[in-house]
């Protein structure tokens, strides 16, 4: 079967070019519509950062000395329990129904963003599909260079009703779909690379979260974290890292004990100093 070169010039290439250009236009329109990111509220930022602080304390717990960890833990658990960092601490706490997202202007904004994106995705695709259906229905435009099973016939030859044609021939509508999938997978990245990298840091609009509950859960997590300072027996760790383990176990035990003793003493002094300073401060104020 031989295809007319006119089909190539007037069906195959136009569909591909239009898909490509629409993809680029869509990208630029989405950049335009999105506009400058909205300035977040101070309290909302504080709320999420407090949570982050808790999780960071948990993940880096071994990098700070014990007394520092303990004081941070005590402070954060207290703050979480009292709801110190909540956006609106006076809101009803337990058992309150989840607030209607329509009333919160933040949520409204997020939903609008999502809607805009979806619309800007959907409308051009619908238009192009209508355009292809209207002008190019029933064209066989190209042949796949690899064999496929019969099951793909309805997928690849939508719009062409011939029973005996080989599966590998592709109809115009299916050529459109092929373009669409490939564009979704990788082509848009290429188009986007040329543009502004403004897509980063977009949070998906989610359900309104109950930060009080999250804070309480974080408090529980903090309470059960144990602390093991990395500088304990650091000498031995360094020796082990460079492949020089201590010779006899008894001597290493002794060394370890002496190591553990000395920083503890030092720490106590540091701790005392801090306490004394705090006392002096409170007296002054």
């Amino acid at each position: 079967m031989i295809l007319d070169p006119a089909i190539r010039d007037w069906v195959l290439l136009p569909i591909m070019v239009v898909m490509l250009l629409v993809g680029i236009i869509r990208h630029h329109i989405s950049v335009l519509i999105t506009g400058a990111p909205k300035k977040p509220q101070l309290k909302a930022v504080r709320e999420s950062k407090a949570l982050l602080r808790g999780s960071q304390l948990r993940s880096f717990r071994n990098a700070i000395p014990p007394h520092a960890f303990e004081s941070r833990k005590a402070y954060l658990t207290q703050a979480f329990e009292q709801g110190k960092y909540l956006k609106n601490p006076n809101a009803p706490k337990e058992g309150a129904p989840t607030p209607n997202p329509m009333t919160d202007p933040d949520m409204m904004e997020g939903m609008m963003e999502g809607m805009k994106k979806q619309v800007s995705n959907m409308v051009p695709q619908m238009l192009i599909m209508g355009w292809i259906n209207f002008f190019f229905q029933g064209f066989v435009v190209i042949k796949l260079p690899f064999p496929l099973t019969l099951r793909f016939k309805s997928m690849l030859q939508s719009g062409v009703d011939t029973r005996d044609m080989d599966v590998t021939w592709v109809s115009s509508l299916s050529w459109y779909f092929l373009n669409l999938f490939a564009a979704g997978a990788g082509m848009n990245d290429m188009a986007a690379m040329g543009g502004v990298a403004g897509m980063a840091g977009m949070a998906p609009p989610g359900q309104p979260q109950d930060f009080n509950k999250i804070f309480l859960a974080e408090k529980e997590n903090l309470l059960i974290t144990s602390h093991d300072w990395e500088l304990n027996s650091i000498e031995e760790k360094v020796l082990k890292k460079y492949g020089k383990s201590l010779k006899s176990t008894s001597s290493s035990d002794k060394i370890e004990r002496s190591i553990e003793d000395s920083p503890d003493k030092k720490e106590k002094t540091v701790k005392d100093k801090i306490r004394a300073a705090q006392k002096a401060k409170s007296k002054r104020s």
Binding site: P5, K143, F181, A182
Partner: protein, 115 residues
């Protein structure tokens, strides 16, 4: 790809800096997309048929991954990606295949189908 993540332990995930990781992933994605387009076009022009086309994709994929590993990460992939070597060799395999099929089909049709 000048930016690399702090830390070297592949198991402590929190040592990676997210913007750097994202930048690295983006760079790799761009290289992948270009690879899919170019190798697909090459396969189409060469007139590879049936499973030769897929074999060509596999070969070019492995070659490209090795290049990324050797030139871009200097054989230290865990500095750049959370998953290390696995990320370089597996990420975006299917998406790249779709782009590859499109270009393969397109160029094959242009060169060998239409007289």
């Amino acid at each position: 790809m000048s930016a690399d993540a702090q830390g070297s332990g592949s198991e402590d995930v929190h040592k990676y800096v997210l913007p750097y990781i994202m930048h690295n992933a983006k760079t790799m994605q761009f290289a992948r997309a270009c690879l899919a387009a170019i190798s697909g076009s090459a396969a189409g022009i060469l007139g590879l048929k049936n499973f030769q086309g897929f074999a060509f994709y596999a070969v070019s994929w492995i070659f490209m991954s090795f290049l990324l590993l050797a030139v871009k990460t200097q054989f230290k992939p865990h500095l750049f990606f959370k998953g290390g070597v696995k990320d370089i060799f597996t990420e975006g395999l299917i998406g790249g295949l779709l782009s590859y099929i499109l270009f393969h089909t397109f160029l094959y049709g242009l060169v060998h189908l239409y007289q």
